[in-house]
Symmetry: C2
Subunit: 294 residues, 2 copies
């Protein structure tokens, strides 16, 4: 199966399950459930659920065992987008070409829709079946750690605090880790855990997620500086205009490119513990995300 | 032990455990951990943790088994206060005599401190030991249900939507349930579950929480209308000024008083499944909360 078909079919499966797990738009309070669904069903490639399901398969498990975890990751990701778009955070009016949640439902409901999706994510995760190595306690502890104050939410705070001031490379790396890599690592690890993976497999998935996440973010920073809006499909130079620190600005364009290439190679090597057949789809995903013209 | 000593000693125990569970103020990102701690250590009677621990004891378990659940309830409660005080929600500048979280740390950090406390609450709950009847899966499912879109967060949305318009008694009851009773019910049920309670005990705790929560809220509404600021310790008539619906306004003062008395009696009767000795502290708590001069 080619990567685009894999992405499309996985997204359809995850969306169907999310539709079953979330209260319908006719369930009271109707406004809240509409707001939650407005953002979670706004499209997107569902890359985190895909990484989760493919990590489960790479570890020899079935994607079905990880499906509720995949949904939890998408619910979590959606809450971060809703809160991130708020006027007191990034203050964005548009997301994927549609008005952001607070533009449609108001700020109060948007805060609460994010809160409810975050809460629901844990309920979804509690539905992931236990296996001989892991159970709900482990899934929840893992998820809360990767998405909490020491990782994802922490990264958002560093990002807020970093606005308009000079950052060190370490600081920028910590922001990229929190805002991008933390949830990618959680996606891969939860997929592996749902499949009852070994400690060696879990370490490999963690390293792969860390390298993939940072490479993706550095490439994003490079393209923001170098690409044309036609190629990128979005306005460029946005980070520079908003005085956000970027990798090329801190280390230079060529160093940034070299680091992205090194991380891309490292991500491939991280998967060496899996057989070629087992690693195939994960490699296809990182190729899809990282093989861009930077 | 008299009720005031019980409250004080329980609060000290819960605060000591919260201090262990939460990252210190010196852990990065420092601002975030300061903001989380600023609100969770702002005092308060820790009534929800108290109900949780006493429910565990009423069911024949030890308070220790429920201590992490008690902390989770306080973390959850604190996140709701931080988000509720935001300008896009109730827009409050003061809470317990101190500036609200967003007044000190800014709105962006306040949103994120709430998000992190909500996330941390689930991590705390995952630490509650399993017993022969319940495990982490059950605790998380219960907690997410009571605090999610169908209960607590749902109540906040109804409250937001109800501002400035005429509500029915059923609508006001749904708001009171979501904003007050849902978390009280969760506190009691999680305490019982951590103690491995029977289905009959769990039903009794649920009914007690429902009656106690609504009675407390109706009495609060009555005192807002009738009391003097000296007695109440806060400004009165706030609800009326803000055009918030109250019980006395909807059903009349005497009917509200009669319903509060009936619910108070019902709450006591709900505990009949427990022996007098086992029910003693829970009865003392509802007396403390409900025996007021209304």
């Amino acid at each position: 199966m080619d990567i685009k078909t894999l992405i499309k079919e996985t997204a359809a499966k995850v969306e169907a399950r999310l539709n079953e797990l979330l209260p319908g738009e006719d369930v009271a309070p109707v406004t809240l459930h509409k707001a939650m669904r407005y953002s979670i069903f706004a499209g997107g490639k569902r890359i985190r659920p895909l990484l989760c399901l493919e990590a489960a398969k790479a570890c020899g498990g079935s994607a079905d065992a990880a499906l509720n975890a995949a949904c939890a990751l998408e619910a979590l990701h959606t809450y971060t987008l809703i809160h991130d778009d708020l006027p007191c955070m990034d203050d964005d009016d548009l997301r994927r070409g549609r008005p952001t949640n607070h533009k449609v439902f108001g700020e109060g409901v948007a805060v609460l829709a994010g809160d409810a999706l975050l809460t629901e994510a844990f309920a979804m995760l509690a539905r992931v079946p236990a296996n001989e190595r892991y159970d709900a306690k482990d899934y929840i502890t893992e998820f809360a750690f990767r998405t909490g104050s020491l990782n994802l939410v922490g990264g958002q705070v560093l990002d807020l605090e970093g606005e308009g001031r000079q950052l060190s490379v370490d600081e920028l790396r910590a922001i990229h880790h929190g805002k991008t890599s933390a949830l990618i690592i959680a996606s891969l690890r939860l997929g592996g855990m749902a499949a009852g993976c070994t400690a060696e497999q879990l370490d490999a998935l963690t390293a792969y997620g860390r390298d993939l996440g940072l490479a993706f973010q550095i490439i994003d920073d490079i393209l923001d500086v170098t690409s044309s809006p036609e190629v990128l499909g979005k306005s460029i130079g946005k980070d520079a205009r908003e005085q956000k620190a970027t990798y090329p600005a801190l280390v230079g364009l060529e160093n940034a490119r070299a680091e992205a290439r090194a991380l891309t190679a490292a991500a491939r090597a991280d998967l060496d513990v899996f057989s070629a057949r087992r690693a195939e789809n994960l490699l296809a995903i990182s190729d899809y995300l990282l093989k861009r013209d930077y």
